[in-house]
Amino acid sequence: MKLVAQSLRDLLRQTHNSSIRLLFISLIMAVLSVTTITLVSDMLKRSLTNSATNFIAGDRQLISPREIESTWLEYANKAGLNYAKSLEFSSMLYANDEFQLVSVKAVDQNYPLKGELLVGLPDGVRISVNKGPKNENVWMQKRLFSLFNISQGGTVSIGDMDFTVTHELAQEPDAGFKLAELAPRVLMGFDEVKKTGVIQPGSRLTWRYYFTGSESEISSFEEWLIPKLNASQKWQGIKEGRPAIEDALEKTETYLLLGGSLAVLLACIAVAMSSRQFALGQIDSVAIMKTLGVKGSRVIVYFTFQLLFLGLFASLIGIILGGGLAFILQDILSALIPELKWPVWSMKSVRVLLLATGTVFVSLFGFALPQFFQLRKVSPMRVLRQEKMNALAWSWRASLASILAIFVLLYGYSQDLTLVAGLLLSVVGLLAVLMLFSWMIYQLLGRNVSERFKAGSVLRQSLSNLLRRPLHILIQLSVFSLTLLLFCLIFIARESLVDNWQSQLPEHTPNHFLINIAPDDLGDLKLVLEEKELITSGLYPMVRGRLSHINDVPVKVAVTKDVAALNRELNLTWSNELPDDNQIKAGEWWQERADPAAYSGTDLGYANVSVEEQLAGKLGLELEDVLHFSIGGEILKAKVSSIRSVQWDSMRPNFYMMFEEESLNRFPSTYITSFYADKSQKQVLNELGRQFPTVSILELDQLVEKLRSIIQQVSQMIEVILVFIVLAALLVISALISSTMTERTREAALMRTLGVKARFITAVQFLEFGLLAWVAAWLALLCAEAVMWIIQYELFDFPFTPHYSLWLYLPLISTVLIGFVSYLQIRKVPQTSPMEILRMY
């Protein structure tokens, strides 16, 4: 007990000791990174998922071709979940002697559980409602009003039943982005479906069940439900339901985990380095304690308690600071993202607290304690004889303990064994490569390179300071470059992610579609669009046709899998130009051909068709395969001439099948286009609607806005990580510089007795570390580019481009920054009397 009190007292007495301070700050930094990153990313993830779930009108969806057993819903109810259901089917809509195939969605009165259902009033104003239609009321999309030439209050019939059209359906939350099914939508009440009599055995139906509830309620229901599902039933959350958001979410999760792990790793390295300094500083005290008769084991107990106290204080301060920072960040972020309304602290925070305190103690006992174990061996003779024992001996046990600690920590943080193993192996591998390079640079320069510069110059002095310590240069150069490299990687990954998302949905992403444009209207429409300065993503003709045969085998035989595209008519288009965002993956885009008749798709010759990559995969199509399309009773024969990738979420018209113009233009077609219009241009839409009544206008501006705000959130999240990485990296660098400070202080004092000016000493120090940082930055850059080149495809699936801006800034910034950090540490030395410093040695 006495020893415990003693260790606490001695610890408090040493608050001025710079190595303890650094160790303390490193510990706080580790806690702070863990707490803040985990809290903020958890909070953002929840709000992100929440705002994203609006897109699927609930937290989860169960999609089934048949009605599910009622016991499932009862179970869901018991599990505390709310649910809603809808039924989708195709049917003919009849009004004013006109027929039109429509896509009907029958919804119950709970729909939508999440997201906005918007209806348009006759004056063009859209309002949000929380329930769908019921009884004899239906809502339908605007284009149907003009098609049937009716207004609100008019009557339409579906099957055996007549309905009153009460509203224009402006937006349903879970409408897709894909424009594959372009049949106009009609929304009706769920209870009326039976009365229409359109549902017959064998009808193609889509039942959707929407669920909401707390994360734990949902996951327990999920566990119960999933084993019961058959192959045709699909349980989906936001990830499965919306590929674009899934992509953003998944990459962000990977990034956060990777970035957070790196921040923790860097903080741990700082802990390791500063605790070593701390241990080194204790050698004399230990020797004295031993001469006073304290046993080696008591020395360990003494320091263990000091570390315990240090850890307790650091955890406490770190958690308070981290929690506070998370609150501040939430404030800042919620100003940017209004949807962010989740509490910082939640049930999961217990895990955060455990993780944060765990980080402190694991790193203390993994990195610091093994160093102190070494102290046990300090000889009391040291008091009598100033032994030249400046460093604690390397011990494999201590190293093993540190590696184990890092492993435990990173695993606790990421809970992803592959990630941890990958990260550690890469870090060790990179460190080895960097050490090799550092050694090569040292060998290349040689110890005497400084003699080429003017005697007494700052440059010569800095160089000779650097080069006469091969071990230091090796350690410092490799640790600096490793730190900078990790920073580079995380920075590049951030840029790639954000750029990639923003390039998917850049400013002025098309947010309105014009569908059903008659060829006769084409010329006038183009003129109007031009006049209103609306830039389209191109006008594409659309011909509806069904894929009937693959290499003369009927598709139903050739393809056994259930591929949705085979169950309906596809939208076929022609173009002589490859759309900007499409990429040829196999084969070639066509050149103009001399004799159009020869490739008309009739028996005279095959037409060329370019097939979308994923569909080609599902259908097992290869180049040169022959496809038959049935278009209005006529057969078009085409040969697969290329396979192309398509950006489905680009908000441009996208097509599975593209043909040469001459092969398709003899079939009746309508045109489709998309364009960007901001709020001030909304008026134009009404004009377009009046002038071209048969053209349907699809307004996706709110959807695009939502998607952009999600990307915004994700980018913000990533900035937070970057700040932490920079701080942790600075800490490592400070710890490394500070570990050389004892020798430097003495050297500086001696130089001052030799008549060297203070400015010279600080300049030499600045230049020395600046030079080191400059070389380290280039090493880091080269390695980062190499690593990025290798992993970018693997991990994030992006194409590689060198990061020139980093080339420009990194060497400059790191030189100045590291030089400055070293200056800060030595700046006090010239202010103290050299007498005072020399007396200490």
Partner: protein, 251 residues
């Protein structure tokens, strides 16, 4: 207080060091502790002076003040006609660079430099283009020809102090300050180092100011001052050969 110095300004120029009524105070726990007071010294060029006294009497502090390593709390010091008390740290550094050399009890060689590099350091810092050559010559002269590439940790105490002597004399200082130069050495080695130091002192007509406990060593200097409790006191056992010129202490 500066009056006597002004009056004797012509007199000053013939002295290597002219200290007038200097004192040093430090703040310890918000109390002023007087380490030195009322000390006046005139040291001629080429003269050798021993500063003796008990531990904690203020000898080393006085040495530091005279060498311009620290600043006086009052009084004035002129070193080779440079008024140290009026100078900034950087200006004092320039004075040290051109006039002063040091030898310390704990040698103060830089552990990361070889013997040769340690001697070269001050020469290089002065911008001497032939630093390497001069340093080599000096070390050879001191019998360290086979130790040029050795690090301090590979040298014995005597060898380290010889390197320190070489470093001090290589710059041809006007004044050499030595702080217990034999304190860390056995008697025999210490004797050799002292012989060498006096030899170099004579050969270069350097002024030597030395702090020491060692009576025999003090005896080899032309004169000595005895410090007790921060003041110069008359020697209790005045040695005949001493030509101590005590300046009246001011109260």
């Amino acid at each position: 207080m500066s009056q006597p110095v002004n009056q004797s300004s012509t007199e000053q120029t013939s002295y290597a060091i002219f200290a007038d009524d200097i004192g040093k105070q430090v703040d310890v726990k918000s109390q002023k502790l007087e380490i030195l007071r009322g000390i006046s010294l005139k040291i001629k060029q080429g003269e050798s002076l021993a500063i003796v006294g008990r531990s904690g009497s203020g000898k080393t502090t006085l040495l530091g003040l005279l060498a311009g390593l620290d600043t006086v709390s009052h009084g004035s010091i002129s070193l080779m006609n440079n008024a140290l008390e009026e100078m900034s740290e950087d200006e004092r550094a320039s004075v040290r660079a051109s006039h002063v050399g040091f030898v310390f009890q704990s040698f103060q060689l830089l552990p990361s430099m070889t013997a040769l590099e340690n001697v070269m350091l001050p020469l290089e810092l002065k911008g001497d283009a032939f630093a390497k050559k001069s340093a080599q010559e000096f070390l050879i002269r001191l019998g360290l020809d086979d130790r040029l590439g050795h690090y301090p940790s590979q040298l014995s105490g005597g060898e380290q102090q010889r390197v320190a002597l070489a470093r001090a004399f290589a710059c041809k200082p006007d004044i050499l300050f030595a702080d217990e130069p034999t304190g860390n050495l056995d008697q025999e080695t210490g004797q050799k180092i002292i012989d060498l130091m006096f030899e170099l002192n004579e050969a270069n007509s350097t002024t030597l100011i030395m702090v020491t406990h060692d009576e025999l060593l003090a005896d080899r200097c032309q004169r000595r001052v005895h410090i007790d409790a921060g003041r110069i006191v008359p020697e209790e056992h005045s040695v005949a050969s001493n030509k101590v010129e005590l300046v009246e202490c001011k109260a």
